[in-house]
Symmetry: C2
Subunit: 404 residues, 2 copies
């Protein structure tokens, strides 16, 4: 596997562009992006499970049920097009029609994503004004404009790409994402776009995406909230004619899982106000579901995440969060807990009770930016890994200071 640096443009025959249409107040920040597949792509999608859904999510779910081939993904930031009544739906349809006309494609070949303020009216006018320029300036050289334009409270753009030889052919995969917890001033969103040049039917793509999402985007939490707009799309252009044997599919699955995990880790690392990136691995569980439930209970504990911000190896809070995981068959008296970083590791808890450790060395270990927490349940052979960040003053600052 070879790492590439062109994001979605690691894959051939994809065009993109971004510009400032006016949804963000600062004209220096682009807020409208287009990803274009001149010869089409088979697309699979997973969307937020929040019952409150933005218009583009409602639209995308319906579109992907009835269609498998798409030519354009239009993404605006600065306005989530959520909770704004029937006018938001109307603007979305007008925009899709306008783009279809400009590109001479069908409206049903277009998917849309939005991220930003929820509940705010979304006008068609800025789209109408910006779309001709956007379409006319499509290019295939750089993904930077697009990956930056979708940022909201993100502090860094998030891209990854690889190529891999299979059966003497080279397949390519490129991806980008945005997300940083829920976003100032209202709601934020996790958006991710993965493109590859394999030729693949939608049913198979759905399975590849679902498997990847389970161990990546669904194994990552910043603040436990699911937004109204979360969307992950996997697009296969079919440039490559590699045979999808079971063996090749397994290889492709690991590649798609790898880019998904790359992006999920970038999002957790860029969590709102985060000072630490925390990898929680729970092993020795009776099932993967149990392991994941325990890992998620740890990853969403404010108490534990505030402790790690304070460089405190607070195994007591960890044990309590494990006890609150809802896994009824756990035996607390078998649990071991280890904290680890580049600096070293300590085991403050063995068999569910205090295990002697050097508090000074523990604090030193936790000064690192990347922390690993290893929980061994000693009750089975299943495991799960979840990524999160610490809970800091800056999280409060970002999420409280609406008026400043």
């Amino acid at each position: 596997m070879k790492q590439l640096d062109k994001g979605i443009h690691a894959v051939a025959n994809i065009q993109s562009q971004a510009l400032h249409a006016g949804f963000k107040s600062d004209a220096a920040h682009n807020d409208l992006a287009l990803i274009y597949f001149p010869t089409g792509a088979t697309v699979s999608g997973v969307f937020t499970q929040n019952l409150v859904k933005a218009w583009p999510v409602i639209h995308g779910q319906a579109s992907l049920k009835h269609h498998s081939n798409f030519k354009a993904i239009l993404i605006n930031s600065g306005n989530a097009n959520a909770c704004n009544g029937p006018d938001g739906e109307k603007t979305m349809h007008q925009t899709i029609q306008e783009l279809a006309d400009l590109c001479a494609i069908k409206p049903s070949e277009i998917l849309m994503s939005s991220t930003g303020v929820i509940g705010a009216p979304l006008d068609f006018f800025p789209f109408k004004k910006a779309l001709p320029t956007l379409v006319n300036s499509l290019q295939s050289e750089s993904s930077q404009a697009v990956s930056e334009s979708i940022m909201t409270t993100d502090t860094v753009a998030k891209e990854t790409a690889y190529s891999l030889e299979i059966d003497g052919q080279t397949i390519h995969i490129g991806a980008m994402a945005k997300g940083s917890g829920m976003i100032h001033p209202n709601l934020g969103t996790m958006l991710a776009y993965i493109v590859t040049d394999i030729a693949c039917d939608q049913v198979t793509l759905n399975q590849l995406l679902k498997n990847a999402v389970d161990v990546s985007f669904n194994s990552m939490t910043v603040d436990g909230d699911t937004s109204t707009n979360d969307t992950v799309l996997l697009c296969a252009t079919g440039e490559n004619s590699i045979d999808l044997t079971d063996h090749n599919l397994a290889t492709i699955q690991s590649l798609i899982t790898k880019v998904s995990q790359d992006l999920a880790q970038m999002i957790a690392r860029d969590g709102e106000g985060a000072s630490k990136f925390i990898t929680i691995t729970v092993g020795g569980a009776q099932s993967t579901e149990d392991a994941k439930a325990v890992a998620k209970s740890l990853a969403t504990s404010n108490l534990l995440k505030a402790a790690l911000f304070g460089q405190d190896p607070n195994w007591g809070r960890a044990l309590s969060a494990i006890g609150n995981s809802g896994v009824e068959t756990l035996d607390p008296w078998l649990i071991d807990i280890i904290f680890k970083s580049d600096i070293g590791s300590i085991q403050p808890c063995r068999n569910g009770a205090y295990h002697p450790f050097d508090p000074q060395f523990a604090q030193k270990i936790l000064t690192a930016t990347d922390i690993e927490m290893i929980v061994e349940l000693n009750q089975g052979t299943s495991q799960s890994t979840v990524w999160t960040c610490d809970l800091t003053h800056d999280y409060i600052e970002i999420n409280a200071d609406y008026h400043t």
Copy 2:
């Protein structure tokens, strides 16, 4: 109903005392308390549902299964007697035996509670040394020493008491609690003790307590964590001979519910780092369970709680939290949201979408310490109320700064 000011000593024939035994480092803070019923009391209890349980919780649950009449409740603060291995259990039993000998009662007539650091060894010696003085100085005048001694990160002692005339007789109820979220430096706890002079069998007491806890302690959250030590005890001394007719029981139920709600509200108000007390009422639900699920999803949303700290009527985050409540039958397009305080009220959301309001006035409303959030689902007739507090810089400070 008449409000009284003597806490548990509003009820006759109860003795109490507290002193410093050495579990807290500061000798100015008492850390060992005894509540004594010279002629016994019928006791009912509810305990943490955390799978990881402190020794006194494991002991209390077993005791209340086999016994209904108790004479003493011993409470230490500064050490939770949790996750410290078999030695913690041994110390507990030694302590209970020592207290039984000193009082000439049976060990099975004693319940114990602990709150404070978890995972720390707990020695018998400080108990042995302090218990004779504690027993010899029991008094019935003031509950202050006891209600203060059980505090950990609490900033105020929490007591309430009432009397009520029923059928020409006066019944009394007094109560105290501690709790302020999870507590520095490790785990904290919610402890509550309610005493009354009615004569009542344990089965009836269990029902009265369960009903009260459902709409009080189980309707309150500071940070979504359940500790290893949470305990609520309801003790009936039987001094009063009032007939427990259905009608009288209903009256007594409302009294027990009232003191439970008083204490739950005091705990939410004293939440770690809290600057605001927030009452969330969800109405128009298809069932009480649905209403409570929605209210709890709101009350545990970091995003919403950080917004309220920032005086931001962030109905978008509220709507998203409602969508994440797990109530699958919700129609988001029917939901109304109102924010209210002494200063006035605004309705920023109607039918699941933005509803015009004055942002300046909204911010002014949210400068109040007591905030009400009213969510009308418009899909049924059931409702539920939950109390919580905002998420502030001080919460991070309290829970991160272990080493200072």
